[in-house]
Amino acid sequence: MKFISIAIKDFKELIRDQRGLFMILGFPLFFMLVFGFAFGGMGQENEPHLLAVVNYDQGTNFPLTNEEINFGNNFTEVLQDSKYEDSDVNLFNVTVTTESEADRLIKSREVDAAIIIPEDFSQSMVQLINSNLNQQNILATPEGTIPTSNNTTSVIIKGDTSFSNFGVSQAILVGTLQQFQDQTVSTISETISPSTAPSAEFITTSIESVPGTESFSMFDFLAPGMMVFAILLLATTVAAALSREVETGTLARLKMSRMRSFDLLFGGLIPWSLVAAAQILILLAVAILMSFKWQGGLNSLILAIFIAVIGGIASVALGMIIAAFAKNDRQAANLGTLVTVPVSFLSGAFFALPPVVIGDFMGKPVQIYDLLPWTHTLNALRAVLTFGEGLNEIMYSLGWMIVLTLILFVIGVGIFSRTRLRAEN
């Protein structure tokens, strides 16, 4: 198997080039440290997030008791009353207002975020309760839109995505809403019994604190972004390694042999994927030391590695494309930086970007950034590490990521083979 020989060779070169290896692992680590200090909220006081609430909820009839109920109002109260964990500081400073006013407040940064509760929120909650009674699980996604039921509109979280406070508020809102739904459903489920129909009063049970929020900081939101940045930087290293092979002529040597492009490029994937996996582990360890609230345990670790490996493959593919255009390894490094840094921004690695919806897919809006595999790498990593979600919840992101990575890889192999693995002109 020639690709295995190539993999072993690449691996040896990688390990023996200690300075290079140090750069690959050290550079993102440095970023993680800086971001950890800057946004880790170490020694920072918890402060309420400024929130505008727009409540369109029309209320509904609660079927078990036939009482009129408005979950939107309840949720607003919950938001007003929620506290940081182990603290009596409120999570939110709530302004109930209209949508246009909310937009104005967002623009003037008088609020960090706005949450818009749809007309049929109560109906959805009722459906959620019903379906839950039928043993179904519906979970929130971390993207900011919560499918409250199979076929309804969603709660919308709005904000100025270039405003750093928004990221944190959004994350906490998602958590709070999730908590609200779970708590409501479980309260009703627990108290329900054939003889005593529960009163709607149960539903007003407030959530006093949201677990994890006591230390939920901007950093928890950003740390997965750093991991994606690290994975993306791999493209630069891969491009430099491939260009070096071209420049020193070793590629010509290989070209003269029976090696096929597949052997070279597939063989190269193996060590680089390992690097991506190692990066995730190291960065996660550093992030945790820097106060990152890691959710999800061992399972999430395995998922994170898997996500990183796929993201790493996408980066290798990008590296091949860069190497096809670079004449030597310095050019590759420069060109690589020129490409990977903007792509990191576009993938949302540093902060969330303003939405640019270009279509719909499986009931979800597709953003232009969704065409980059690393956007999904980030979503999946954030879901798994920051929000502690499992495989099922990241299937959507994983699916996108795998398909996009495959496409990118085919393009990468095509371009690289065409420019570098044929007789020179």
Partner: protein, 313 residues
């Protein structure tokens, strides 16, 4: 009928208007050592790159065993590039194994062959040293070994003796001879050392400015320019060189007279016999000689005759 392993037909390479190789036609016989001789920039490397299929010709084509080079299974060719092409962080043994694997050489054979190559090229005690830690000459030898690990029938060596000490050079020469004599390989080598081409090659192609100037065996090449001697003379006053040349050119029986490296190079069938006459002329004109030597015709002289200059370094 002779068997040709490589045939170049009207081979040309243009680099944006500049012709690096210009209409090269030649056939290389099976089992011969074929030398490309030419000064820097003559187009030797460009020619052989096209001949092994690494570089696409602008015009013309290359046939290997009668088949277009693009379609040939590259296992028949082994090329030792002019520059060092090594994996800095792999050891000699690892590099050889890697290339062997890439040529699908079976494990056992590969191990034996790698060991033999390292032995023959005196690299055995460096087998586990990474390439970046080898001396320049050792790197050269590893560079060569990498071209041979798949036992190709056609061995292409681009200035293989560059950077080797005299001892290593002798090792290399013997090695090349044994490739031909004991293993029946066809060897193509480029060099700008006349001596090397003369000693090793069965046939020599002399190139300059991308063109083939002459192709023959060393003996014939020397004969073509005429048997005879070469007188090399250095004057105390180099300003007088041109005056002497003018005189010599008009002299009977002199085949050629050139200034090379401040020496006056005179070729004649019987240069010794002409010396007294030349000396008399020098004396009459009060020109003194710093250095004088007489020697046999060499390939260098052939080259000078063809190109009008010595080897450009």
């Amino acid at each position: 009928m002779e068997e040709y392993v490589i045939e170049a037909q009207n081979l040309s390479k243009d680099y944006s208007g500049f012709k690096a190789v210009d209409g090269l036609n030649l056939k290389i016989k099976k089992g011969e050592v074929f030398g490309f001789l030419g000064p820097n920039g003559a187009g030797k490397t460009t020619s052989i790159s096209m001949m092994v299929g690494l570089l696409r010709p602008s015009q013309g084509k290359v046939l290997i065993n009668g088949e277009n080079v693009e379609k040939v299974d590259k296992i028949v060719i082994g090329i030792c590039p002019q520059e060092l092409v090594l994996w800095e962080n792999l050891t000699c043994m690892e590099s050889l194994k890697l290339m062997g694997d890439m040529y699908e050489v079976p494990g056992e054979v590969l191990k034996k062959r790698a060991e033999k190559l390292l032995q023959d090229l005196f690299l055995m005690d460096k087998a586990d040293t990474v390439a970046s830690k080898l001396s320049g000459g050792m790197k050269r030898r590893l560079n060569l070994a990498l071209a041979l690990i798949h036992a190709p029938n056609i061995v292409v060596l681009d200035e293989p003796s560059e950077g080797l000490d005299p001892q290593s050079r002798r090792v290399l020469w013997n090695f090349i001879k044994s490739l031909r004599d004991n293993e029946g390989k066809t060897v193509i080598l480029t060099t700008h050392l006349m001596d090397e081409a003369d000693r090793l090659s069965d046939r020599i192609a002399i190139m300059d400015h991308g063109k083939l100037l002459l192709l023959d065996n060393p003996t014939n090449l020397k004969k073509e320019i005429g048997e005879g001697d070469v007188v090399e003379m250095k004057l105390n006053d180099p300003e007088k060189n041109n005056q002497i040349i003018k005189y010599l050119e008009n002299m009977h029986l002199i085949e050629s007279a050139h200034v090379i490296d401040n020496h006056i190079n005179i070729r004649a069938l019987n240069a010794v016999g002409l010396l007294p006459q030349i000396m008399r002329y020098l004396e009459d004109n009060n020109i003194s000689i710093a250095d004088l030597s007489i020697r046999q015709n060499t390939l260098e002289d052939v080259f000078i005759e063809l190109t009008g200059t010595g080897l450009r370094e």
